[in-house]
């Protein structure tokens, strides 16, 4: 059933078996799975059933590291959580993702793929995906085509499936609405986890509403499922017994923040033939005929590098005028003349419609403009190669509390996203492997965009995958939760979501978040019984 927390009596105390904080992919999966546990479940959701700007503002934070990473845009704070703008891209992790990589500190998981495999098939159904088959043979056979013979020691096509995408808050709303055993409190913000004196257990969760009452929940078990940033923030804010935050004896909470660094147009390939033979692999204007697509992923990981994907964004036009305009403008502003000035002027004149299109969309903040045709139906003649990296664990990349306060008086988070040399090497390795294979197979030639000597390109993006801030490790000095997702040293506090992933892999996290949540539900059932 659903209850608006603003209607709860001020100071009320609600007893329950399990309290789940956060109703996104993890929280909703847990609540649905625990319906059969014969124990009352409370699900606290900060937002309502629809987007609300005042609630969303609670997610606003500061950026102190790489890239302007707006923390109130990369996630959503209402029922269904960030699945409300999920793109649906899905792929399970591979066995090797769980293995330690000797040259990468803190790589590897305390669990193996076999521990998660039983849950992936159910997660696949929950995420409304196709058959649980991610083999290239299955998908290329399905479309009756074969991929080029990439050297498997360099790169290989890797399948991703596409969910409708599942909006968990819409698709599974009625399941919880009609369930007497589960009470969903909307507009209910968990602001403090109150532990017993020796911090060995949570005894009370303080809940606040915007402009309304505050009350508390007294659960036997608590699961933090508020997302990769907020899970850490709530632990850091819970300072009643442990001044540095709960579960933070070794200063690990909030550290090891990872996303998937995304480099658009890391390479540019001109193809030797129109519509090159890259089935399932040309993205953009050549949409997949089935609910799957392929990227080029790493084969082995040479020492000191991590995983990667190269995404091939097909182009029906080769446009250089926009870059030429930028180059000329930059040179003129420095009172110099660019090299190949005449070539640039020709490109600007030729691509004037693309320049107008670019300017219109920038000024009008529009996805479309009247100046440039979409290119749908035209042959592919080139492609932008986007690179997505696995980020490696880095203690300097972290979520901390800022001094700024939100509307509930809570410290806003500050995100310091940082990379290491591994990301730099992996970027170089990724684009080189792709370029070598395009050449070897006679597909075309690649122009590589080098990284700046210092720092990172201005168009670097994140994938809005918040990973690692309450990472899993058997050692409390290097992890916040144990292999069962229980916070080290706190008997009845668990964490769900990608914040427990100790490594990021190159795959999108939602399917694995769902599988891990099912596994955690099993663990809680065991504890209850």
């Amino acid at each position: 059933m659903f209850v608006d927390a603003r209607t709860v009596a001020q100071g009320a105390s609600i007893e329950t078996g399990i309290c789940i904080i956060g109703a996104g992919a993890a929280g909703i999966t847990l609540a649905r799975s625990l319906r059969s546990a014969h124990v009352p479940v409370v699900l606290l959701e900060s937002g309502g059933l629809e987007f609300d700007a005042a609630t969303q503002d609670l997610d606003a934070g500061l950026m102190t590291g790489l890239h302007n990473y707006p923390t109130d845009v990369s996630r959503l704070r209402y029922f269904g959580g960030t699945t409300n703008h999920w793109a649906g891209t899905s792929r399970p992790f591979e066995a090797s993702d769980f293995h330690p990589q000797p040259s990468i500190p803190l790589s590897g998981w305390p669990i193996a793929l076999e521990d998660l495999s039983p849950y992936y098939r159910t997660a696949q159904e929950i995420c409304q995906l196709g058959p649980f088959d991610y083999s290239t043979s299955y998908w290329f056979q399905k479309i009756g085509q074969s991929p080029p013979a990439f050297d498997p020691a360099r790169v290989h096509p890797t399948i991703f499936q596409i969910s409708p995408p599942t909006r968990f808050g819409e698709v599974y709303r009625n399941d919880l609405k009609d369930e007497e055993n589960v009470t969903v409190y909307l507009n209910a913000n968990a602001v403090d986890l109150q532990a017993v004196a020796d911090a060995s257990a949570i005894e009370r969760i303080h809940v606040a509403t915007l402009g309304g009452p505050s009350f508390s929940v007294r659960p036997k078990y608590t699961v933090l499922a508020a997302g990769g940033l907020e899970n850490a923030r709530i632990l850091l804010l819970s300072r009643g017994v442990q001044p540095n935050g709960l579960g933070n004896t070794y200063d690990v909470v909030g550290r090891y923040f990872m996303d998937h660094p995304y480099f658009p147009a890391a390479g540019f390939v001109t193809f030797a033939t129109l519509d090159p033979p890259l089935p399932l692999m040309i993205l953009g204007v050549k949409a997949s005929p089935v609910a799957a697509f392929a990227t080029l992923a790493n084969a082995a990981k040479p020492d000191g590098t991590a995983g990667f994907q190269v995404l091939i964004q097909g182009m029906t036009r080769i446009i250089t005028g926009v870059d030429s305009l930028k180059t000329v403008a930059s040179s003129l502003s420095n009172l110099t003349t660019p090299d190949h000035l005449w070539d640039h002027i020709q490109a600007i004149i030729r691509d004037r419609d693309a320049i107008a299109d670019n300017a219109y969309r920038t000024i009008m903040r529009s996805r479309q403009s009247p100046f440039l045709a979409s290119g749908v139906g035209l042959p592919i003649q080139a492609a932008s190669l986007d690179v997505l990296l696995e980020q490696v664990p880095n203690p300097a990349s972290r979520v901390i509390l800022s001094k700024e306060r939100d509307a509930l008086g809570q410290n806003r988070l500050a995100l310091d996203w940082q990379f290491t040399d591994v990301e730099r090497r992996t970027y170089q390795h990724a684009i080189e492997m792709a370029a070598l294979e395009f050449g070897r197979l006679g597909l075309g030639r690649v122009k590589i965009k080098p990284l700046p000597q210092d720092g990172w390109p201005s168009d670097l993006m994140g994938a809005n995958h918040h990973i690692g801030t309450t990472r899993m490790s058997d050692d409390p000095k290097t992890g916040v939760v144990d292999r069962n997702c229980r916070v080290h040293g706190i008997n009845n506090l668990y964490v769900a979501g990608s914040s427990v992933f100790p490594t990021s892999t190159f795959a999108n996290p939602t399917l694995t978040i769902t599988a891990m949540s099912l596994r955690l539900a099993d663990e809680l059932r065991k504890q209850i019984s």
């Binding site: 050297d151 390939v269 001109t270 193809f271 030797a272 033939t273 129109l274 029906t316 036009r317 080769i318 446009i319 250089t320 005028g321 190949h340 070539d343 020709q346 490109a347 030729r350 691509d351 035209l378 042959p379 003649q381 080139a382 080189e432 370029a435 070598l436 294979e437 050449g439 070897r440 197979l441 006679g442 597909l443 075309g444 030639r445 690649v446 122009k447 590589i448 965009k449 080098p450």
Partner: protein
């Protein structure tokens, strides 16, 4: 022996394909943005500038690809050789483009021939 100008330019069509220049595509979309790279001489000049003319001339003298070129053997041999370069990692970066060393050498030769012709 350095191949003659005619030998070099006989190879242009084949190598244009090799460096993936789609003139037909460019024409279809009224796009000639890759004319710069489609010019063997342009690529060759960039290669010479980035890696040093004297070093490349020295390397050219020992490149078996130029013997293939001089003897007028099939273009496909050179294309195979270019693919093998990519398989072996025998590549160079010219103005950011990853090229096989074989095709880079032929581009350099085109640039050198063009320069010599201009000087005459």
């Amino acid at each position: 022996m350095i191949p003659g100008r005619r030998d070099v330019f006989q190879m242009l069509a084949a190598m244009i394909a090799t460096v993936a220049i789609r003139r037909r595509a460019a024409a279809a979309s009224d796009d000639t943005s890759l004319v710069a790279i489609s010019s063997m001489e342009f690529v060759g000049r960039a290669y010479l500038a980035e890696y040093g003319t004297s070093q490349i001339i020295a390397a050219l003298a020992h490149d078996p690809a130029l013997e293939i070129l001089r003897s007028g053997q099939s273009h496909s041999m050179l294309l195979r050789r270019a693919k093998q370069d990519f398989a072996d990692g025998n590549i160079v970066l010219v103005d950011g483009w990853m090229l096989s060393r074989t095709e880079a050498h032929i581009c350099a030769l085109a640039a050198l021939q063009s320069t010599a012709s201009d000087d005459q």
